[in-house]
Structure formats: C-alpha cells, structure tokens
Amino acid sequence: MIKFENVTKTYNRSVRALDDISFNVKGGEIVGFIGPNGSGKTTTMKLLTGIIRPDSGKITVNGFNIREDPIKVKESIGYISDNPDMFLRLKGTEFLELIGDIYKVPTDERRERISSLAEKFGLTGALSSPMMSYSHGMRQKIMVIAALLHKPPVWILDEPMVGLDPKSAFELKQLMREHTREGNAVFFSTHILEVAEKLCGRVIIIKKGNILYDGTLEELEKQNKNDSLENIFLELTEK
C-alpha cells in the first residue's frame, strides 16, 4: 500500500536527508520505522504525506502516485504529525468537525466515530472545551481521533505514543492491530523499541538517510545471535 522507490531528498542543496532509499509496506502490515534523531524518519513521513517533495524517486500510496494524484493520496492517509499543538483556539468538537468536513465524512458516520473514539481515549468530557486548555497528551489524543476519523486505509503516524497515557497507548495499539487485520497498512515511527518489538511484524532501521535494515524482528534477532533489540539497534546505529 506504500511504495517508496529510490527516493532522495536534500535540504538546502547540501544536507542529504534521504539517500536513494526504497521500501514497501503491504496491506495487513504494521511497520515500525526506527532510527536515531536526525536519521530521516520525519522527512520520510513528510514525503509520504506530500508535505515536502522528493528530489528524485517515486512515491505511491494506496495505488496513487503522489505527484500525479496528490489529493487521492491525501484522502487515503491518516496522518499524525510530531506536533499536536494545532488550532488551539478551536474547541475539540470544532476541530473534529473541520476534519470531518475536509475528508467528507458522512454526518451519521462522523457522529458515531467521534463518540466511540473519544470514549476509547477518555476524551469525551473535554471535547467541548478549547484545545488550548488541553494537556499535551489530550492534544495528542485528539490528533489520533482526527487522523482516524475518515477511516483511511493507510495510517502514517509520527511518534504517535508520545504523551499518551498507558491506557490510551494500549487503545491505539489495539486500533492499529484491528486496522491491519482488515487488510490496511500502518507505518509509524518510534523511539520506543519495546513498542516496535511488541507491535510490528516488520521494522525498518534508518540512519543518516540510509536504510540499515528492513525485515522482521525475528530475522534480525537471528542474525544477531538473539541479542536484545536495544543492543542490536545501538550496534547498528553507532557503527
């Protein structure tokens, strides 16, 4: 559902953030994207969502090429950015209504989905308050609800667990599993190796814009004589 083919991205014509990288994410997969700070994780996420353009290479999401059908690609994606401080002057309900209208979610479906997701994340009581009064975690939760509101086939989540309380993190992980069970795809970046270990069928490890590893965790552990993911990660990224 996600095809990233020979993508290169350079900032200010000098800093090479991604160096000719390629990977695929198939339907039914949860893929963890792991790497140290400045490795190119957020750049990859931004390229997938059309926020920035690649210098070269081809990006396809849900069968649509991002250059040729940017609107179709954006409709197919549920994106959580790394900064949930957005439209803080709006109330939670107003923000979700905005998202519902932008993604053309039918009225009944919208009401039902907002109610159930807000209930799951324990946000129902706060929805009628301005988002400015929310804590960081609450803002992150409303971004999660907004990203999932239109039932997108592809979830692209940049550090989605940051700021979530354990119950909400658990609920999100459950939702991710349910989503992939329906044949959809989840691609998410994380710093928390335990999350990747428990959730992902596959991980991609990136460093300085190059993919160091792309495969299952079992294979990775086998290759590294059953060492812990933490040690393997440190060894790979500090080489």
């Binding site: 900032y11 954006k74 932008i102 706060a126 929805l127 009628s128 308050s129």
Partner: protein, 552 residues
C-alpha cells in the same frame, strides 16, 4: 553585561526572520526593502521633517520655536506608550520563551532588561526614523547652533525608552497586584480595548475642538500652553532635550540623560522585586466546559469544505486576541472615524467645502471622493494584514494545509474570502454612512461600494501572494506573527505604491488632460479589474507552487 548581550541577541533572533527564512529569498527581501524604503519610509520621514521644519519656522517669530517639536515628540511618546502596552505585556509575561528562561540561573532584572531591550529594538525601528526626521527638521527650521546635532543623535536613540519603561512598570504592577489577569487573552482584550478607546478619544476631542492649522499655530505661539505643560510633566525628557538643543545648555542635556538613567534604574529595581512573583503561575488559562460533548456531537452536520474552512479562519481571527485587535477590530475603526468626521467635525473649512462640493456635484470633489475611497480600501486591507499574514498565521502547523486533501487554491480562496468579508464590511459601512450624510444617491453609493470591493479584493489576493513568497512561519506568540513581520510591511509598501500611482495618475489626468471625471473613474475601474485579474492569476499560477516549495 556579557550575559545581558547574549540574552538580547537570542531574544532578537526569536523575533527576526530565521536564517532559513532569510535565505529562502534574498532577492525578494532586497527588492521589497528598496520599495518599502523609497515608497514609505523615506517619503514619510521627509514629510515629518518638512512639517516640523515648517512649524518651527512659523513659531520662530513668536519666540516659541520649540513648542511644535515638543508637541510632536509628545505625540510620538504617547502613541509609543499606547501601542507598547500590549507588546510589553506579551513579551514580559506571555511569550513562549518564559518557560525556558525562568529555570535558568538569571536574576529577574537580567531577564526583564534583556526582554525590554529586545522589545525596544524590534518595536522602535520606524520610531527612530521619525524621531530623527523630526529632530533634524527642528534643528534646521529653528536655525539651531552646531551642537544641536548632538541632541539629534542622543534624542533619536534614547527618546523611545521612557514611554516603554512606563509600559513596563504599569504592566509589572498590574500583574503583581491583581489576580484576575492570569491569562494572555484577558490582557490582549483589555489593552486592545484601551488602545481603541484612546484612539477614538483622541479623534473625538480633536474633532470637538475644531482642529485646524491656524488654531494649532495660534495655540503653540503662546509660551504657556496648558496641553504642553501637562505633557511635559508626563514625559519630562521631551522639553529637556528640545530646550538643550535650542540653548546649548549641557546641564539640560545631562539632566535629560540622568532622568533616562534614573528611569532605567527604578525599572530594574521594580523588576527585581515584582517580576518573579507575578510571572510564576501564568498560563494560557483553562476553559470551562459549557455544553455536553454528546449534545454537540449529536448536532454535528456535514458542510462544504469552503464553509468549514471559512468557519475555521473566522474563529481563529476572532478568538485570538492578537488577531482580533490587529486584524479584525481595525476594520471597524474606519466607520467610527467616518461617523465622527460627519457628526462632530462639522466646522472645519476643508470638510465643509468638500461636503458642499459633493452635494453640489462639483466634479473635482467627486473625483477626490472616489480616489479617497480606493486609497482607503487598499490601505485598510493592507493594514489589517488578514491577507498578508494568511500563511504566516499557520505558523508551526503550516504542514496542515499541505497534507489535507484540499487543493491549495481552494484554501487560498477561503483565506481571501475572510479578508474580503472583514475588510469589505468595514469599508461598505463607511461608504453607506458617507452616502447617507452626503446624500449621494443609492446608485453612486453602490458604485463606490463596488469600487471599494474591487480594491479590497485586489489588495487581498496581492497580500496573500506576497505572504506565499516568504511567510514567517516561526513564531511563539501570535503577536510575534504580526509584529516584526517584514512581509506585512512590504505588502503595505507595495499596496501604497500601487495605489499612489493610480490616484496620482488619475489626478494628473484630470488636471492636465481634457478627459472628464466620469471617463477617469471608468479608467480607474478598468485598471482595478486588471489589477484584480493579475493578482488572482499570480495566486492561481504561482502561489500553489510557492506553498509546495515551502518546507515548513
């Protein structure tokens, strides 16, 4: 001292455009700076200089040459105080850097000193130019001796200090002794309303007294002017500087510097005592839940993308106090001024003859009215900066407009629509009120409204395009998005230059060609239609690409 300088430099870098933003379009900055410099700054400073020069020359025979310059400096100081209040409140108590500065091993006076200096530098660029022009005008007009130039240099640099110190002291005392102002929205609302009330008050009292140049010169020619005496007590540095320039008395200049130094010391002392207890615990303020979420969710309905995005823009502009006072409220000052001008300001010769000219169908007066409406419409749209900050206002969440499945041009049209709604409604109210007062007839009033909307729409799309070229996306406080934003200033300069060319051209056509007023107005109408087409097409073909290239 080293620490203080480092802090000031760090704080100024937070207000100025980032290196990334500067690099983004160096040529754009250079071209715009030249246009702004020659289109606004130089003419304005020259104009101020000439006024003070003439006023000083006119007062010289009465033996009170200093009164004109004194009055002008008091006016500058008063406006600096009024507009500084909001800035100082925001910078001292509600800027994003406070959470980073408070845990550092810094003394309160060091934090306040650095914040004050950064605010002074970023807020006073234009003021320094105007002060320099006024003091030069006074020195030349009053045929002052050579040493007066020392006063020009010292006065230009130091004059903005005292009004901002007043703002700082008032702000710290208010925050220390009151418990009700614990969030920035309240502060912004209070200072916004205060500014609005003071400006309307100044216009109102000026109107009541039937202000005109003869009366002003007459009042200033008297050595004992009541208004100046009161203002001299409020800003004692003004008379000291002006008189020291005239008499060459080093004592008065030293006293001037001493008063400034004493004000700084008192301010620092108060900062040491008052700042920390008043700043701790400040927040954005929690809002209370008014309706149950279930109730709101059950009432949710599907709207078109344009309507929903328009509602979002409207809510953000109205609910964000910095935007409300600077972008929204300013539009409704125009009808207030028109109302005051007609209801109270009946006695001045110029307005009376102008009103008489319109009522009797004098062609020159009609042309002046039409040109005036076009100029004010463009100016109001540029000043309210709803359009020229359309992308800037997105700030750190600029990426949102890129990852939602809505074409960029649709989003830009929504941003244009909100600017046209606010700018246009203020202008239409003013024109309708003016039409009623001048008895111009509904057809002419409607035509003027249409012409005004054309100007608003041109200035809107042009402003949006200008903001797309180089938006200021890095700011930590909404006021920072508007203040110190060169794009807004450049857009204003461009709008003034374009409108200036249109109005001057029309007037020259009227004066020096046999073309009739109606024909000239039709030419203006056609030019405005063309300008609209050009600015819209610029947005249509270029703005989308510019947004796509921005990496946010």
């Amino acid at each position: 001292m080293k620490m203080y300088l480092r802090l000031v430099s760090a704080l100024i870098q937070g207000v100025e455009p980032s290196d990334k933003e500067k690099k983004r379009n160096k040529i754009f900055y250079i071209v715009m700076a030249i246009i702004a410099g020659f289109g606004i700054m130089l003419p304005m400073t020259f104009f101020v200089g000439v006024i003070i020069y003439s006023m000083t020359g006119a007062l010289l025979p009465f033996g009170t040459p200093e009164n004109g310059a004194e009055l002008f400096l008091h006016l500058i100081a008063t406006f600096s105080f009024i507009f500084g209040l909001n800035v100082i409140f925001s910078v001292f108590y509600f800027s994003g850097d406070i959470e980073s500065l408070l845990p550092l091993p810094l003394r309160p006076y060091q934090i306040i000193g650095a914040k004050f200096t950064a605010a002074l530098i970023s807020e006073s660029v234009m003021e320094w130019l105007v002060l320099a022009a006024a003091l030069i005008g006074y020195t030349i007009g009053g045929k002052m001796p050579f040493y007066a130039w020392l006063g020009v240099i010292i006065g230009t640099i130091t004059m903005p200090i005292l009004p901002l110190i007043y703002c700082g002291i008032i702000c710290m005392i208010v925050m220390y002794f009151t418990r009700f102002i614990k969030n920035k929205d309240t502060v912004n609302k209070i200072t916004g309303l205060f500014t609005f009330a003071v400006i309307v008050g100044i216009v109102y009292t000026g109107s009541l007294s039937g202000f005109n140049t003869d009366k002003l010169i007459d009042a200033l020619s008297k050595p004992d002017n009541a208004l100046l005496n009161v203002m001299n007590c409020i800003f004692p540095t003004v008379p000291l500087l002006i008189r020291s320039m005239g008499t060459g008395s080093p004592l008065e200049l030293i006293l001037y510097l001493l008063i400034n130094a004493a004000a700084v010391c008192i301010f620092m002392l108060l900062a040491q005592v008052l700042y920390l207890p008043s700043v701790v615990g400040i927040g954005q303020g929690g809002a209370k839940e008014r309706h149950s979420a279930a109730e709101i969710i059950s009432k949710m309905k599907r709207h078109s993308t344009v309507i929903t995005c328009l509602k979002k823009e409207f809510r953000i502009l109205v609910r964000t106090p910095a935007y409300f006072t600077n972008c929204v409220m300013i539009n409704f000052m125009c009808p207030v001024f028109v109302y005051l001008a007609f209801v109270i300001h009946g006695q001045t010769n110029f307005l009376e003859s102008f009103i008489y000219g319109i009522k009797s169908g004098n062609r020159e007066s009609v042309l002046m009215l039409v040109l005036g409406i076009t100029a004010v419409s463009v100016l109001v749209t540029a000043i309210n900066c709803i359009a020229s900050s359309a992308i800037t206002r997105e700030g750190k969440h600029f990426a949102f407009i890129k990852y939602i499945p809505v074409p960029y041009m649709t989003q830009l049209n929504v941003k244009a629509l909100i600017s046209i709604i606010f700018s246009g409604s203020g202008m239409i109210l003013s024109i309708v009120w003016m039409g009623i007062q001048l008895n111009t007839g509904y057809k002419f009033t409607l035509f003027c409204c249409l012409l005004s909307l054309l100007c608003v729409s041109f200035a809107t799309y042009f402003g949006i395009f200008m903001d797309c070229i180089n938006p200021k996306l890095i700011w930590d406080d909404e006021l920072n998005a508007l203040r110190g934003n060169y794009n807004i200033f450049f857009n204003m300069a461009m709008a003034i230059v374009i409108e200036g060319v249109l109005c001057t051209g029309s007037f020259l056509l009227y004066k020096y060609t046999p073309l009739g007023v109606l024909f000239i107005i039709i030419i203006d109408f056609v030019i405005l239609m063309l300008l609209n087409a050009v600015s819209y097409l610029l947005c249509y073909y270029k703005a989308g690409r510019l947004i796509e290239e921005l990496e946010g």
